[in-house]
């Protein structure tokens, strides 16, 4: 019923090998033969079976993508970067959500290796040691996208999260603030830990006492950010450094609900710079994360591993910038 390479070979009076050659663009085929084969392929509606091909060649031209949650816009942006480059290199993507659950991550890794993916792009805020162990013994290359492995054992693409946070804090400090709140996402995330470190260091470097009451951990949501502002109110912060755009909008609404003006009374710097940053009122000054690029570069790096190319840089650090808008007073 389904037409196979054998059917084509028979109809075209050539061997399977020859059909295989024309299908795979091998140049060692006489033009006339190629034409004849192509014609039969067309007539019969032959469609190469990628599974059989994968078994024979040990390459599936598909890569696994393990992502915390595709419905989270940050990850979706990363995923788009990954997919675009994958497509460019003729790979398909098996995409799975892990919800950052370690067991799921482990099991997903296993499943993808079982499916013989040629490579894996992995994203997670925390890389457990067991996960790291499994990644190291993976027969297939793995690269971390926007995710950090302290041991630097796995290839990765990131920005300098610490430096970006430090610079954001510096800007707030330079604007004269001494009561700066940090509304963070979960500290289980390595990136948020880095930001906290930068938060403290920037303050210390400016000889401003670090008040732990000004630091608040939430779940990255708009609602918790509003709550955070209320919790923080007694501390009278005059500026906020916020972990992402959605929370920043929560902070704006929380601050305005308390009758304060932005940026006159309170300044805010966000960290993400998604399109939300421009949709907020006032528009958000935000550390611009090149999410799409992180995804794209990760995938590009992975192709190099898959091709056995020389890798010049195993830990790629992409540049960031701070987009200044109306939530801060600018020079």
């Amino acid at each position: 019923m389904t037409v196979t390479i054998y059917d084509v070979a028979r109809e075209a009076n050539v061997s399977m090998a020859t059909v295989s050659r024309v299908v795979n663009g091998n140049q060692n085929v006489k033009p006339a033969t190629r034409k004849k084969v192509l014609k039969v392929i067309e007539e019969l509606g032959y469609r190469p079976n990628a599974v059989a091909r994968g078994l024979a060649s040990k390459k599936t031209t598909t890569v696994g993508v393990i992502i915390p949650d595709i419905s989270n816009s940050m990850y979706a942006e990363l995923a788009r970067g990954i997919e675009d480059i994958a497509t460019m290199y003729r790979y398909n993507i098996i995409l799975s959500n892990s919800d950052q659950n370690e067991n799921k991550e482990l099991q997903l890794l296993e499943t993808m290796l079982g499916k013989q993916v040629d490579g894996i792009v992995f994203m997670s805020d925390v890389i457990s040691s067991e996960l790291l162990y499994e990644m190291k013994r993976s027969p297939t290359p793995i690269v971390l996208a926007g995710s950090i492995d302290d041991s630097n054992a796995i290839a990765s693409v990131n920005i300098d999260y610490y430096g970006a946070a430090y610079e954001a804090m510096k800007k707030l400090i330079d604007n004269g603030h001494t009561r700066i709140a940090f509304v963070s996402g979960l500290f289980s995330s390595k990136v948020n830990k880095d930001k906290l470190k930068a938060y403290r260091q920037a303050l210390e470097d400016a000889s401003i006492e670090v008040d732990e009451q000004l630091v608040i951990e939430c779940d990255n949501s708009y609602d918790e950010a509003i709550e955070a502002v209320n919790t923080l109110a007694p501390q009278k912060p005059t500026a906020y450094f916020v972990s992402n755009d959605e929370m920043s909008i929560g902070v704006i609404h929380g601050v305005e609900a308390n009758g304060k003006k932005i940026p006159e009374d309170v300044e805010i710097i966000s960290y993400e710079n998604s399109k939300l940053a421009r949709m907020a009122r006032p528009m958000l000054t935000s550390v611009a994360l090149p999410l799409y690029d992180i995804g794209a570069v990760s995938m590009r790096l992975l192709t190099k591993y898959m091709n056995g190319e020389e890798i010049e840089e195993k830990q790629v650090i992409l540049p960031y910038r701070i987009e200044e808008r109306a939530s801060t007073k600018n020079a």
Copy 2:
């Protein structure tokens, strides 16, 4: 180097068939044998090769997902619903962005069929006749998620877009408006055409003259929505029916920039009800689209096709509701 079923069989002194049985949970294996095999599997670190399995069994336990753009939050939400149910049924997902480009869609379909996916979930605002033709001859089941094929030839999951739009318009009309603008996404999209139809019908049913100058087509973006408001200003609309939440925020900003108050001077009803609806000020009254559910139900429907189960309902219509918030005056 990689350990195969044959290695396990040899080490465990059983046949490949027996190993295959225990790996696949076949009950026809003596417990003692099973245990022995499991032990060897563990020792050797045997991992079944899904590609070989796929070739032999003609099932890959993976489904293809063709989506316009995963970085668009509406589609990301759909995708999450699809993936969750796929996981529940032990399927993996090959995810590809089509950007609604017909050639890409066609080619993606071809690629996925080549990869021998067991089923496909397809999303697109427009289903061309060529695409429809190819879908009909697909050897593998296909279901449309949040997408419409006028001929009803392909299974699909949607809501009553027309009815939802009609109801939204009715609400605006009941609130006394006669100058209602419609800020729509592209009319190439079947869904937007339905909304337009409902827009007109609701007006006609209320004996309000339809003024085509009040209808404006944009690209679904925040920026174009702001522009639309300015373009519309001379028509003096007192209410807006808007195609999605992002555009609605643009409309809010455009309207407020012109010194009008919402909902006192101008009322707005959106269509999506993403988390943006609650993050807007005023919060948006919005037609609530059950995006996640559409994805989930689509995948569930697909599993039925893949299992050869009886399908009671080929065109599934899910319920919607209108979430009333502060952008309209409510009873």
